[in-house]
């Protein structure tokens, strides 16, 4: 407790950070979500997956959407991508309503969504070719973006020959080669081990710093959200609603050292309050799954 009292409030921002947020707010709005709602009917009856979601994303902003499982964050990003229909409200990209999937919104999935029958280079060339670019042009672009994610040496490898982290790099290159207005990422590093994940996060920030791209990143990992985001959209479950939008006070550029900065810890404390409330009500799973621990070893055979 006494540690926490020494922490600054998560709302306190240094001058540099505040100035940065002011600058972001002056940029044009890329994505606007207005009163977004989604219902679907399931075996349990009508389910409200999303309720009255409102937010705006400015150009070259990095937004993380954070929430417990089942809060509808995947539904949200899939709706933004146009892969799912919403029931009410509006999604506006550059002021125009989103009606279906399109190359103006790149998407990186959690699972390995690379085309297994195409080499790495052909995977990246797929988007430009679909959008009517000729082969040579597409190949030149693919080379460029593969170089950017550091995989030019693997241009002729098949996806199955790559590690998980490398595959996600290809997926990022494949999404970015289309030069989308916004990059939607649905827990892209969720399946990676901790080391690779940390590397990928730094790499993603490098990319974001260097090119004109706005990122909307879904995660359930608090550290990941704080490390990456300008603003964090915290969702709560049943129904999926925006609980709070947090402007992350951790100054940029960020590095591994940022993880232990007071701003970082303050933000994390706040997020933990929001996501795991103190009087933790049991989740549905906890109510059903109750392990009954039986001693299978000799009473004197202790490990602790």
């Amino acid at each position: 407790m006494n540690i926490e009292s020494t922490l600054p409030g998560y709302l306190e921002q240094s001058d540099a950070v505040r100035a940065r947020f002011d600058r972001i707010r002056q940029r044009e709005i890329i994505l606007e979500v207005r009163n977004l709602g989604k219902h679907y009917s399931s075996a349990q009856g009508d389910v409200e997956a999303l309720r009255d979601i409102n937010f705006k994303v400015h150009r070259r902003e990095f937004i993380c959407v954070l929430g417990p499982s089942g809060c509808g964050k995947s539904t949200l990003v899939r709706t933004l991508a146009g892969l799912e229909k919403h029931s009410s409200g509006k999604v506006l990209l550059d002021g125009k309503p989103v009606l279906g999937p399109g190359q103006d919104r790149g998407m990186v999935f959690q699972g390995y969504s690379l085309f297994p029958w195409l080499t790495v280079k052909k995977n990246v060339m797929f988007g430009p070719e679909m959008n009517g670019r000729d082969h040579d042009e597409a190949e030149r672009d693919a080379r460029l973006w593969l170089d950017l994610v550091g995989l030019d040496k693997f241009a002729d490898a098949y996806p199955h020959q790559l590690s998980g982290g490398m595959r996600q790099r290809v997926a990022i290159a494949r999404a970015l080669v289309n030069q989308p207005r916004i990059l939607l990422m649905d827990e892209p590093f969720g399946a990676l081990d901790a080391m690779t994940r940390a590397k990928m996060q730094t790499h993603l920030l490098d990319i974001w710093r260097n090119i004109d791209i706005t990122v909307l990143f879904i995660t359930h990992d608090l550290d990941e959200a704080i490390f990456l985001a300008d603003r964090i959209l915290v969702l709560k479950a049943h129904p999926g609603e925006v609980q709070e939008v947090i402007e992350v006070p951790v100054p940029r550029p960020r590095s591994a050292a940022s993880l232990s900065s007071p701003e970082f810890r303050a933000t994390k404390a706040r997020l933990e309050e929001l996501i795991h409330p103190a009087a933790a009500q049991e989740s549905e799973e906890d109510q059903v799954v109750k392990p009954h621990m039986i001693r299978f070893t000799n009473v004197t055979d202790n490990v602790e």
Partner: protein, 322 residues
């Protein structure tokens, strides 16, 4: 002991040498049983091959008689103090020994047809292969596209699959008479039977394979700007191709099983004609040889196609698992 038990570890993916050794054994074991039954006199051998008829007036050299009959006649002759018959244990005529069948693999090709203008064995075989080929090609020409459409777009699937599901229970040979009435007595109805036997299964299997395609792949393609027909040609088809190829191999085997029935329809032709002819003249060694040739042709094609598949789809991971 320990060594032996190691072989029973399930799916231990042991060295290729062990795998091919076991593969050869799976063929040698039945052959061994056949050899035992054929060459070891006290196993089975329910007949006696008469070598010397002795005093039995209806016995002839080379005649096969039941053991009990022979025993009775032997006792009979001894009682009457006539010449006793001699014979050796033998298997019935319909079970030739391995070496006889092995010889028939060659002689079946060199013996002249019993009828003057009848086809030689190689002509019969070639005719059968052509029937299979056309039946399978025609079935695939319609079955594969329909299957892919049904698997990709639920409207196609819902519209076609219930009826196909029903139709596949109708046995293809049941349409034999109808096919003859419509298509004549030559190759038409035979090809039709193979098409009927293959097509309906094909649509369902291909549709199922298409449906198993990971939706993430389709969604990724959509977010990259893929539209309508290119989703089908550039994503769905290439993605399912290795599985489709495997399905086609299985279905080709299926088509072979319809061959015999198909060839009996109208005028009997091809390998079936050869088999029935040889059976009529009691040349069972030729019958076995011909049946095995069907197996060798079918299995050989499948092995070849499997090899080719590995070449065609170097990115396919499921091949490593088998």
């Amino acid at each position: 002991m320990g060594n032996i038990f190691r072989w029973f570890v399930p799916r231990s993916g042991k060295a290729a040498r062990q795998r091919s050794f076991l593969g050869i054994c799976s063929f040698l074991l039945p052959l061994l049983v056949w050899c035992l039954v054929s060459y070891v006199p006290f196993i089975w051998h329910p007949k006696i091959l008469v070598v010397d008829p002795g005093g039995v007036d209806y016995f002839q050299v080379g005649m096969l008689v039941d053991k009990s009959v022979f025993r009775d006649e032997l006792a009979n002759m001894q009682l009457q103090h006539l010449g006793v018959p001699h014979g050796e244990p033998a298997n019935p005529i319909y079970l030739p020994a391995p070496h006889q069948v092995a010889k028939a693999f060659y002689t079946a090709f060199t013996t002249e047809p019993e009828q003057k203008d009848g086809p030689w064995l190689h002509e019969s075989l070639w005719h059968s292969v052509k029937i299979i080929f056309w039946g399978f090609v025609i079935s695939s020409l319609f079955g594969v596209p329909l299957g892919i459409l049904s698997g990709t777009y639920s409207i196609f699937g819902r519209l076609s699959e219930p009826f196909i599901e029903f139709f596949r229970y109708l046995p293809a040979p049941a349409f034999g008479a109808l096919a003859v009435a419509v298509l004549g007595i030559y190759d038409g109805p035979k090809i039709a039977i193979i098409v009927i036997g293959t097509f309906f299964q094909q649509v369902l299997i291909v549709a199922n394979t298409t449906r198993k395609l990971d939706t993430t792949i389709l969604e990724a393609a959509l977010t990259l700007g893929t539209r309508r027909i290119s989703l089908l040609t550039r994503v769905v088809v290439p993605a399912i191709l290795p599985d489709l190829y495997r399905d086609q191999r299985i279905l080709l085997g299926w088509a072979w099983t319809y061959l015999i029935v198909a060839e009996l329809i109208g005028t009997s032709t091809g390998i079936t004609w050869f088999i029935t002819q040889q059976a009529r003249y009691q040349h069972f060694d030729n019958v076995y040889a011909a049946i095995m040739m069907i197996g060798i042709l079918g299995f050989g094609t499948d092995l070849l196609l499997a090899k080719l598949g590995r070449r065609l789809f170097p990115w396919d991971r499921s091949l490593d698992r088998t």
